[in-house]
Symmetry: C2
DNA sequence: AATTCATATGATTTCTTTTTCATATTACCA
DNA sequence: TGGTAATATGAAAAAGAAATCATATGAATT
């Protein structure tokens, strides 16, 4: 019987993506930018993350080319570069639903999104 | 315009899953167990990971109920508990392909899997 | 041109994850 | 029953990621 492993280069890449998504702030940023573009101040207010910290996170997403910047006067707007990542995020969120459903023993439906 | 955020509980869960997949050994374990069950020694040999280290990784996957154990004599066999995770993994691997294709400038097709 | 607002960056500190080491547990075998 | 093979576990060490702090940059405003 022949056993397959994930090819090393592919594996590295997969781990990188998963790590990027393995952070609250970064997931929320992607989730927000899916809806529209935001500048850094707006993201800061929505996410309650400190300026520098947010900036560092944005850099990670930029470095991986998931988002891109565009300067408008004093502010910098961010948008999704690679909508393909949304499919991956959706898969994770779908799994999340699956898990939350499965573990919700009180029969209450799980509230999925939150308006702000 | 109304902006949506991911609900906190869901977000936490999503981050957990993503983190679990954000590790070479753990992804490979899931990829292997998708194919068949393996005991710890077999996994060790295939993955070249030290016994204790592997055992700790298996525990994480167990704790999150992605895999389960079954003792057979002296050895312990592991299997996937929640095949739903495979959809998530596939999405990540698909994104990986997308990225590797995009960055492959030499026109060479990217070798995806590896037999062992 | 000096000041202020928005954002970025590098270095340091703090927190988290992973590995390693030593030891425990459980089953099999002589 | 004592020994050994397979796996698990807790604690400590090492490696990695995130937050914080101080400062830099770049555009607007006075």
């Amino acid at each position: 019987m022949t056993t397959r492993l994930i090819h090393p280069a592919k594996l590295d890449e997969a781990v990188k993506i998963a790590k990027l998504l393995g952070n609250k702030t970064r997931i929320q940023i992607l989730y927000l930018l899916e809806q529209q573009q935001f500048n850094v101040t707006e993201l800061q207010e929505i996410l309650h993350v400190e300026q520098s910290s947010l900036s560092h996170q944005l850099k990670e997403l930029r470095d991986y080319q998931l988002i891109s910047q565009q300067r408008v006067g004093k502010s910098v707007y961010y948008q999704l570069t690679d909508p393909h990542i949304l499919a991956t995020m959706d898969a994770i969120l779908a799994h999340t639903d699956h898990v939350l459903q499965g573990r919700a023993h009180d029969g209450q439906p799980v509230d999925v999104d939150q308006e702000i």
